[in-house]
């Protein structure tokens, strides 16, 4: 029983340690630079959406003319 409990505790510890070991973009987030990435991605999305809206308007015009 003791062995099992100690094993469990040990595995829990290694879990915690390994979770801390994993490198994530923490510095990037704390410095706020991730916002730049979001801004870039949103710009691309906005561009695509505006393009689609323009295309849709053109097609609607064509449909009216027919």
């Amino acid at each position: 029983m003791k062995k099992i409990i100690s094993l469990l505790i040990f595995s829990l510890f290694t879990l915690v340690i390994s979770a801390q070991d994993v490198t994530m973009a923490d510095t990037m987030r704390s410095e706020g630079k991730i916002n730049v990435v979001i801004a870039v991605m949103l710009t691309i999305l906005l561009g695509i959406v505006l393009y689609l809206i323009r295309l849709e308007r053109k097609i609607s015009k064509l449909e009216k003319n027919n």
Partner: protein
């Protein structure tokens, strides 16, 4: 088809995906690290592809039942945008795997050898090629009714090929790609954390609706073209 609300919904969901997808707390996984956020982009491409292919086969069956050529045109464009999503899924996947699957102890060439043997990649390639053949077949027949009927029947076969090539065989074979024998890689509740699912499901809807938007534009253009040809 001309209603606006779902287009707005699509854009809102995509904006939410981009903002929340990068800002939420994600589980800390060794090897995957921050790339786990690709779930909201790469995996959604494949989801969108499957949904669009499903709509495509429904349109084909509708054509066979009603002989209305509009359904056949719709089926073609749903399949085209489905293939586009599949190709984007492939491209994003190849970027993702080159950072997470490459074995640093081996040469790049040997590492690639094991990656190229991935059953999921091969299965998806087969599925996409089967759909590419659908386009070749459909666009090679000049007669309108013959084209529509033959390609609709083929489309049903192509959809049936998705089952073994994407949903069955890759899940039986061992693979580096997550989500094998445990079931669906994305819908498995044990895999994705609650946080991620809050972004993941809206992301699927957003990307799929964006695909449907493109499809409706293409359908309307095609119908205009057909009208001009028949005048």
């Amino acid at each position: 088809m001309y209603k606006k609300w779902w287009k707005i919904l699509s854009v809102v969901l995509l904006v939410y995906t981009f903002v929340a997808g990068l800002l939420i707390n994600v589980p800390r996984q060794p090897q995957l690290q921050e790339t786990i956020r690709n779930l909201f982009f790469h995996v959604c491409m494949w989801f969108g592809m499957m949904i669009l292919f499903t709509v495509s086969v429904i349109q084909s069956v509708k054509y066979l039942r009603t002989n209305n050529l509009k359904h056949d045109i719709a089926a073609r464009h749903y399949a085209v945008v489905g293939i586009l999503f599949g190709l984007l899924g492939y491209a994003t996947g190849s970027i993702w795997m080159s950072y997470t699957w490459i074995d640093s102890n081996k040469t790049l060439f040997n590492s690639f050898g094991s990656i190229a043997r991935e059953p999921k990649l091969i299965g998806a390639a087969i599925a996409l090629l089967v759909y590419a053949a659908y386009l070749v077949l459909r666009d090679s027949i000049p007669d309108m009714d013959k084209k529509a009927r033959i390609s609709s029947v083929y489309n049903i076969f192509a959809y049936a090929m998705l089952f073994p090539s994407i949903w069955i065989i890759p899940r039986i074979l061992p693979s580096l790609h997550p989500g094998g024998s445990e079931g669906n890689p994305a819908l498995n509740f044990k895999d994705a954390s609650m946080n991620m699912r809050l972004v993941f499901y809206p992301a699927i809807v957003g990307w799929t609706l964006l695909g449907v938007w493109i499809v409706t534009l293409k359908i309307r253009l095609s119908i205009l073209q057909e009208k001009k040809l028949s005048q």
